[in-house]
């Protein structure tokens, strides 16, 4: 029977020959993930169900990234719960501040997730790893606590929407613009409970960093997972990072899709998501005059090497506008190190940016770079809900690193062509 890539990975992990949408299955988990906000609750559940040992200390990743370096006593206590649990259970993939970064940046970077894996994380952006041909999905802390004990969870096989991107990308249009454009078409619940499969010549032409950006935001349409079939780009990325043998799954040509949506990219402009929804998008030419108090370049969506490099290319020999603040946060310690070697950090500092330590930063409005009442920011992150980055009467616009960097120079939302 023909299956999609998602169905094939789920079937393999449920030890079944075949699965179809709507089936309730129990699956084995290759990697279970939590962060300093979701892990403490998961650890509480782990203890409450009477578990004494984790199912496999190699297959759990506990990453401090949301409120670290600890922002206050309460978050220090939460980080401590995770640190002590990791020591007690000899969790192999616990990475301390200074040797770590944003969970969804470092797991692929360190080769901890590879094609064919099934990854469950207590974080909604766990869907990022779909860019590698992985089935990955976000859950809450209770599910994760039980997975840490048993290595298993139940899932309902989702129906798949296939997105077929064809054509050639116009200048300054990249993965972030494609996913924002797609969210605009699908709406904020257009893929609720479903799988989004990104395909077509345009996707095959994207770098891994841009693919991660797209898969990362599948959840903004409510999707259970976002996924891309592995190709040469995927294999080259994985070969440098992991010694495990990847399992390459691809969708059968006659696999059953709930819907196939064709997207012609030739005329797409850079996209901006307006407050207060990632699906509330407009093309750059229809933005109007929107002045900015703050610009944030970073996050699990756009805090990777290529993103920071793109920002530096635009900011080189330019200055951040008077009245605007630019915050740049490399997504991992290794990206930070490379950015220093390439002179990128120097360029950014010369332009007037402040560099934050690798962490989630202002994205979720809890730590570093919080907005005051009435302030307006453009951000390369993934959500712009009411109060997402600070005061409930602040505004967040979402865009690519190139647009964010150009906007920082001009002090208003604009593309690099306006420089």
């Amino acid at each position: 029977m023909p299956m999609t890539i998602t169905e094939k990975i789920l079937a393999r992990h449920a030890n079944l020959e075949y699965v179809s949408p709507g089936d309730l299955i129990e699956v084995n988990v290759d990697m279970a993930l939590a962060n300093d906000i979701t892990a403490p609750l998961a650890i509480k559940v782990f203890k409450e169900v009477g578990a004494r040992k984790v199912f496999d200390p190699q297959k759990i990743a506990l990453i401090p990234d949301h409120f670290v370096p600890n922002k206050d006593i309460e978050s220090a206590e939460q980080a401590k719960v995770m640190r002590e649990f990791s020591a007690q259970h000899q969790i192999v993939h616990y990475y301390e501040v200074g040797r770590s970064g944003i969970e969804h940046v470092i797991l692929p970077e360190m080769g901890l997730v590879i094609p064919g894996d099934l990854v469950i994380g207590a974080d909604s952006h766990t869907c990022t790893y779909g860019a590698l041909g992985v089935f990955s999905s976000g859950v809450g802390s209770t599910d994760l606590g039980v997975i840490m004990a048993t290595g298993k969870t139940w899932l309902k096989v989702p129906p798949t929407i296939k997105l077929d991107y064809e054509g050639s990308l116009p200048p300054w249009v990249e993965g972030k613009d494609l996913i924002l454009y797609t969210l605009g078409k699908l709406g904020i619940d257009g893929a609720n409970y479903k799988s989004l499969e990104f395909s077509g010549a345009v996707i095959r032409g994207l770098s891994m960093d841009q693919r991660f950006t797209m898969a990362n935001m599948a959840v903004e349409a409510g999707a259970k997972n976002g996924i891309m079939g592995p190709d040469e780009t995927t294999m080259a990325y994985v070969a440098q990072r992991s010694n495990r043998r990847p399992s390459i799954f691809t969708s059968d040509p006659d696999a059953g899709y709930e819907k196939v949506i064709k997207i012609e990219v030739d005329k797409i402009e850079p996209q901006i998501a307006f407050p207060h929804s990632p699906a509330n998008v407009r093309p750059l030419s229809q933005v109007g005059d929107i002045t900015l108090d703050q610009v944030f370049i970073g996050s699990c969506t756009n805090g990777r090497m290529e993103d920071i490099r793109a920002a530096a290319t635009i900011l080189k020999d330019r200055k951040v506008a008077k009245g605007t603040r630019l915050i740049v946060i490399p997504g991992s310690q290794s990206i930070y190190r490379r950015a220093i070697k390439e002179g990128i950090i120097q360029t950014l500092i010369d332009a007037g940016a402040v560099i934050g330590p690798p962490c989630c930063g202002p994205c979720l409005g809890g730590h570093l770079g919080i907005l005051a009442e009435g302030e307006r920011a453009i951000s390369t992150s993934n959500r712009n809900f009411v109060g997402r980055m600070g005061h409930p009467k602040s505004e967040v616009y979402l865009a690519s690193p190139a647009i964010a960097a150009a906007s920082a120079v001009l002090g208003r939302i604009a593309g690099p062509e306006g420089l």
């Binding site: 169900v49 199912f55 309460e74 939460q78 909604s124 976000g138 859950v139 809450g140 599910d143 997402r388």
Partner: protein
């Protein structure tokens, strides 16, 4: 299992940042979380909500983050049931896991108004607006999920079923 309560009405796409903003996620104690539930959207909610009250909302309730702190805050604030036109996937799963029953009904979501007194029967999915006498039927909750809620959440359910004994 029958429940009765007074309704707090919400609109579409109530996201997890509105339910409990991230600035309050430096703790995971459920009573502390409850204190800040809906603080930006409806600052009076936590002071006026009574134990057993219902939430009736529109589409895609609970979209956004995977934070289980969101259903925990709502339940700990006193809400006994959420009825919505639809729920975001992760919130749906989290709500059952922590023992907060939720029901999907387009008709109930449209017709029920703020302050109405409503009763629900979780085993049949029947929803009655006792102020108007109108009846609606929610999509039935699968048996095993009703059992999870009946036990107060996944932790209690697992303890009772003894599933936790294997491999631990």
């Amino acid at each position: 299992m029958k429940l009765q309560g007074r309704v707090w009405k919400f609109g579409d796409n109530v996201d997890t940042d509105l339910i409990i903003p991230a600035r309050f996620l430096n703790v995971s104690d459920k009573d502390e979380l409850a204190r800040n539930c809906f603080t930006d959207l409806r600052p009076d909610f936590v002071n006026k909500v009574s134990l057993g009250d219902f939430i009736v909302a529109g589409e895609n309730f609970g979209c956004g983050s995977s934070r289980e702190h969101a259903p925990l805050a709502i339940r700990s604030a006193g809400i006994s049931v959420i009825i919505a036109r639809s729920f975001a996937r992760i919130f749906y799963r989290n709500a059952f896991n922590i023992g907060l029953p939720i029901l999907e009904s387009k008709e109930a979501s449209t017709s029920i108004e703020e302050g109405n007194r409503v009763s629900v029967d979780l085993s049949t999915g029947e929803i009655v607006n006792t102020d108007t006498g109108e009846r609606y039927f929610a999509r039935p909750i699968p048996d095993f999920m009703r059992e999870i809620v009946g036990n107060g959440g996944l932790v209690e359910y697992i303890k009772k079923k003894g599933l936790a004994k294997q491999e631990m």
